[in-house]
Amino acid sequence: MILDLDRFLREGRPHWTELEEILGRLESGGVLDLAGARRLHWLYERASADLIRLGTFASEPETRRYLEALVARAYSEIHDTAARTKRFRPLHWCRRTFPRAFRRHAAAFWLSLAITVAGALFGGVATVVDPDSRHVTMPWGHDQLRPSERVRQEERSPRGAGKAGDGHGTFSGFLISNNTRVSILTMSLGMTYGIGTIVMLFYNGIGVGAIAADYLLDGQGRFLAGWILPHGTVEIPAILIAGQAGLVLGHALLGRGNNLPLSGRLRRIAPDVVTLIAGVALLLVYAGIVESFLSQYHEPVLPYAVKIAFGVAELCALSAYLALSGRSRGPVDDDDGGDDPDQPFRQRP
């Protein structure tokens, strides 16, 4: 049987046109009152019914494509989630959303830390056993200079290493952009089922371990602590959190212990991954500023004890923030996910 297409079009067109107009208004940022919302729903149901009717009675591709496009637009408007309409609150995000997302996936953070420590041990042992390996394991040209020689140079310069080039701001910008790029890559490589993230974390660990061993072997441990701690106590955790985000992605891809389909698993963790990487970016901005404006000053300009104390204080503050912030028993927001405040280091099932 062939549908009377002419009549079908004549009867349907006024409603489709009205639906198109309402959708156009909504897509331009307009808002509907209750009567308008009811009308939109009725028109959506009417267009859906027309689409079904057309599919049952006639294979008429042009009209079908038109109606499918219309129903698709209406569907996305009607089934919009309430979460989208929530306003972003930066303070709330810093106080609750980020630390809670961190705690929900704390197991991934500890794994990220373990991989980095393993890399650091490897780098340290490699430097002790085979000093020539420094040319392979040490980044940023650290292999070109013995630590004691570098310390002599740094302490002779009134404002530290003078690495800033055009100035501290430029150096800070360079550090922030480079570290953020590395962090984004570390997180993104989670899409290789976490293998790329593990490699990145291990590789970063090798560099840190090799440099640390080199300085310690050369008797420059105090300088090393004064140089690294002010920015490293924030920068290194930030990269570990980027690794945590990558491992969360990799875990979702593997789907071990989770019955949800892949799309469901990824949909569930995506907001947390974005929250984690946004937190990483903020931490790296802070670390970049500290590294440029504080870490590069050495004795006699700035006593190492002050720098070490500052670094330790930062580490304590960061640990307390990530472990405790937003643990109140108040109502749980949708974007917080809702971790158990009594068991902050348990992963969400």
Partner: protein, 257 residues
């Protein structure tokens, strides 16, 4: 798979045409050109700023170079309903894989994961992923639960314009017209209608051949008297047949709303 089929809770099924790798690559090329232009403008501003505040200029350059490509994609896709300038030019849009509205986390994640899709150079990983995944998704799309679709721009169908309202001589034989409607299945009717819709896209020679074959086919279904069909061109015969099939009551005089 070239289409993403979505079934709504109301039981309605609709499809979205997935964008192919070539159109996506062209859109990406256009977007890269936009980002390059924006970066050049930033570079000029930084150069000018260097005379006044060299340190601030240096910071702005490093941070701007990092932020620009990500921020461009995120801002455009969020504020422009899934479309960057390149996607707009090539008629593409990023949508949620379940047909829902894009969420901020989806937009951010799919753009951040360009870092892995770009590897080892020029989006090789992302390109391969779009070829091998069921929904033509790069890794960023897989993680964010998004797909890139072609925007359908179908015109509202208008049979009057297509078939015209000239006198249809076949209507003089209502019993034969009824038999034709009974014997022609929906798929055959759709083929004839599509031949008329796409007539301008077909070159003259093949078009004559196509309508000859269609007319012969429909003549075989029901035989109208010779005095009606003699002298009727093949294309007009097909036009009259479609008119009978799709407008059984023959009312072409009422105005289109």
């Amino acid at each position: 798979m070239t289409h993403l089929r979505i079934r709504t809770p109301e039981g309605v099924e609709f499809s979205l045409q997935l964008a192919g790798p070539v159109s996506r690559a062209l859109a990406l090329l256009a977007d890269s050109a936009v980002v390059w232009c924006a970066t050049s403008v930033l570079g000029s501003i930084v150069q000018a700023l260097r005379w006044v505040a060299p340190d601030t200029a240096g910071t702005a350059m490093f941070v701007g170079m990092l932020v620009m490509p990500f921020a461009y994609g995120m801002a455009m896709e969020w504020f422009n309903r899934g479309q960057t300038l390149g996607k707009r030019v090539f008629g593409l849009r990023v949508v949620d894989a379940q047909g829902l509205k894009l969420r901020p986390s989806q937009v951010v994640l799919r753009n951040l994961l360009r870092a892995v899709d770009f590897l080892p150079f020029l989006y090789v990983v992302g390109g391969i992923a779009t070829l091998v995944t069921r929904r033509a998704q790069r890794l960023g799309d897989v993680a964010a639960g998004t797909v890139v679709v072609r925007i359908p721009r179908p015109a509202r169908p208008d049979l009057d314009q297509l078939i015209g309202s000239r006198f249809n001589s076949l209507r003089a034989y209502p019993h034969l017209a009824a038999r034709l409607r009974q014997r022609v299945p929906a798929a055959e009717a759709a083929i004839a209608l599509q031949a008329l819709v796409r007539r301008e896209e077909i070159e003259a020679g093949p078009r004559v051949e196509l309508f000859r074959e269609l007319a012969d086919h429909f003549r075989g279904r029901v035989e109208f008297p010779a005095e009606v069909v003699d002298g009727l061109a093949d294309e007009q015969y097909v036009r009259d047949v479609v008119d009978l099939l799709y407008r059984p009551r023959g009312d072409t005089t009422r105005p289109t709303p």
